[in-house]
């Protein structure tokens, strides 16, 4: 149990740093949304799953699960809306601002 949660949490750290460095490495905006989505989905999944495994089957674990579902829905929706606004402005201006 302890080894599993440690492994999940350290993997979450690594994906968090990789996704953040991706914001520097990619030149295009849409590629940057890809790097940000890694942090928003995979890293939160791994770290909150490790916290849930440590906490066991309690009410706090249920709250963590609800936070995970909420972050999944809102993070992807926000990045989708951002890409849509980017596409509309790109069509109007011919290039990104």
């Amino acid at each position: 149990m302890n080894i599993l949660s440690t492994f999940l949490m350290l993997t979450g750290c690594i994906t968090l740093l990789i996704g953040t460095i991706g914001l520097f490495k990619f030149k295009d905006f849409l590629s940057r949304t890809h790097a940000a989505s890694v942090v928003d989905t995979l890293s939160t999944l791994l770290i909150i799953l490790a916290l849930m495994i440590n906490s066991g089957l309690t009410l706090y674990s249920l709250k963590l699960f609800l936070i995970l579902i909420f972050l999944y829905i809102t993070g992807t929706t926000a990045i989708h809306a951002l890409s849509q606004v980017f596409f509309k402005n790109q069509d109007k201006n011919g290039e990104m601002q």
Binding site: S5, F24, F29, A78, I79
Partner: protein, 88 residues
């Protein structure tokens, strides 16, 4: 287990510093909104880890409210941006 929490907190703080550097060094407005959204997610994870170290369960509500405010602020900024463009 506390050591792993502290390593994770250090990694998240490093990622927050990198995100702030990205926010300062670029003039593209879309990347700035993206970075702000990412900062909110990282701060939610930071609150949850601090709550796990302190072994109090009260911070999870704060984390949930922070996630909600983060989502609403991103959508409102995008709506303002869109309406300002349409009304021109």
């Amino acid at each position: 287990m506390i050591d792993v929490y502290i390593i994770t907190i250090i990694a998240i703080i490093l990622a927050i510093l990198i995100s702030i550097l990205r926010f300062i060094s670029l003039k593209d407005i879309f990347t700035k909104i993206l970075t702000t959204n990412l900062l909110g997610t990282k701060i939610v994870l930071l609150i949850l880890l601090v709550s796990a170290i302190e072994s109090t369960n009260d911070f999870s509500d704060i984390a949930m409210v922070y996630a909600l405010i983060n989502f609403i602020s991103t959508i409102v900024i995008l709506k303002y941006f869109e309406n300002r463009r349409i009304s021109k």
